[in-house]
Symmetry: C2
DNA sequence: ACCTGAACACCGTTCAAGT
DNA sequence: ACCTGAACACCGTTCAAGT
């Protein structure tokens, strides 16, 4: 049944190389694993990704490095498991919300979806913040954000110049549009960014941004 | 004037620790730096982030490790500079498009913006693909994508059940919505994800998704 | 049977020696 | 003046020895 508990963290296909070395068979093992998970999050928040060494995690969890390597074949597998646990939590909440929201009017669908996703993130905010450090190097993130900010400023100027409308909260509108564009592009690159995928992306993003801008603008008198 | 060339890659504020150690003063230096940039991209594409070692980049660029360290104080600064060069290229194109698109009708704004951004990415596709490897670990990305796919499936089911409409291309609509939601959330976490920022995000994302769903659906007869 | 931690391989970074 | 690459520190990972 503790094996059960572990398996509930594994709803996605896990590459063999990243599988945990053994499932916990004794209650003590499960406790140890919990301690390792918690230690990983705490070390990440305190020291950043670069300070996340196997020795430090083991020390904070109160076990030896060797013991950690009995559960996880390498550091990557540990990070993978911790990240997976969080993503699964969020996906569970989204799934549940989508099920209980069935049959609602189209105008309500966005609320159901966006709400469930963000609620789940906020509910485990510590984990969410720590885990984003796994994927995003801090220096690199700074650079990305600076680039996005610059793009948002470009977009603001463009929106301010619209022939037929003005926007109430220009910065916010530009930020929303550009975050979506840049964010989903990044995901598309995660998928390999084939030429046709990029074309699809462009068509749908354009539609989405256009409809949003039309809702958000005030026609000029 | 070659200093000029280098500075054109630096439109963002660069943390001191990440500054290149010296600007190239001789033509040969600029060539060497170009070779290092190109070598970095090629090694990244061929070996992945984990295979990107200073020795390998130096070897491929035809210089010694020591020489590389004359230009960049550490590996991170090299990655930073290469990434910056690409992001600057994209932001330049977006800025130009936003300027030349001034005064157009609101319905055209999304095309200008999305088009310029994606065109710039495609124009330097090799660099774009290589550089996303800097920020995104491949194993981790797989996990994120699996989670997003699961969320997209949840959303598809929800959308299919809408009381008042049906959707032509359910999967694509769900994918667009969820990529935007997950992508811009990730960016928000990059900014620190304060409580109020998350509230703003939710409000605007909801609006954006709702307007998109309304454009994309066919009312039931 | 399970845990420990010194030992090993490898990578980022330096700096004495070479030209 | 500038380049080289052996040498050093440190981290991930292993495995002989201990309980």
């Amino acid at each position: 049944m503790i094996v059960q508990l572990w398996n509930s963290l594994l709803p996605f296909a896990v590459p063999d190389a990243l599988k945990p070395r053994k499932s916990p068979r004794q209650a003590r093992s499960a406790t140890t694993m919990g301690a390792i998970f918690e230690a990983t999050i705490q070390v990440l928040l305190a020291e950043g990704e670069r300070g996340l060494t196997t020795t430090r995690v083991a020390e904070r969890a109160g076990v030896s490095v060797g013991t950690m390597y009995q559960y996880f074949p390498h550091k990557q597998a540990l990070l993978y498991a911790v990240l997976q646990s969080h993503l699964t939590h969020v996906a569970d909440k989204v799934e549940a919300a989508c099920q209980s929201g069935r049959g609602q009017a189209t105008s309500q669908l966005a609320d159901v979806l966006v709400g469930a996703f963000l609620d789940a993130k906020v509910e485990k905010l510590d984990a969410a913040k720590a885990l984003y450090l796994i994927a995003e190097d801090l220096d690199t993130t700074t650079l990305f954000l600076a680039a996005i900010d610059r793009n948002i400023r470009s977009a603001s100027t463009l929106f301010a110049s619209a022939a037929d409308a003005n926007f109430e909260d220009l910065e916010a509108v530009a930020a929303t549009v550009f975050s979506s564009v840049a964010g989903s592009t990044r995901i598309a690159f995660g998928r390999g960014a084939s030429a046709s995928a990029l074309l699809d992306l462009r068509r749908e993003l354009t539609l989405m941004c256009r409809s949003y801008l039309e809702v958000r603008h005030r026609p000029r008198r």
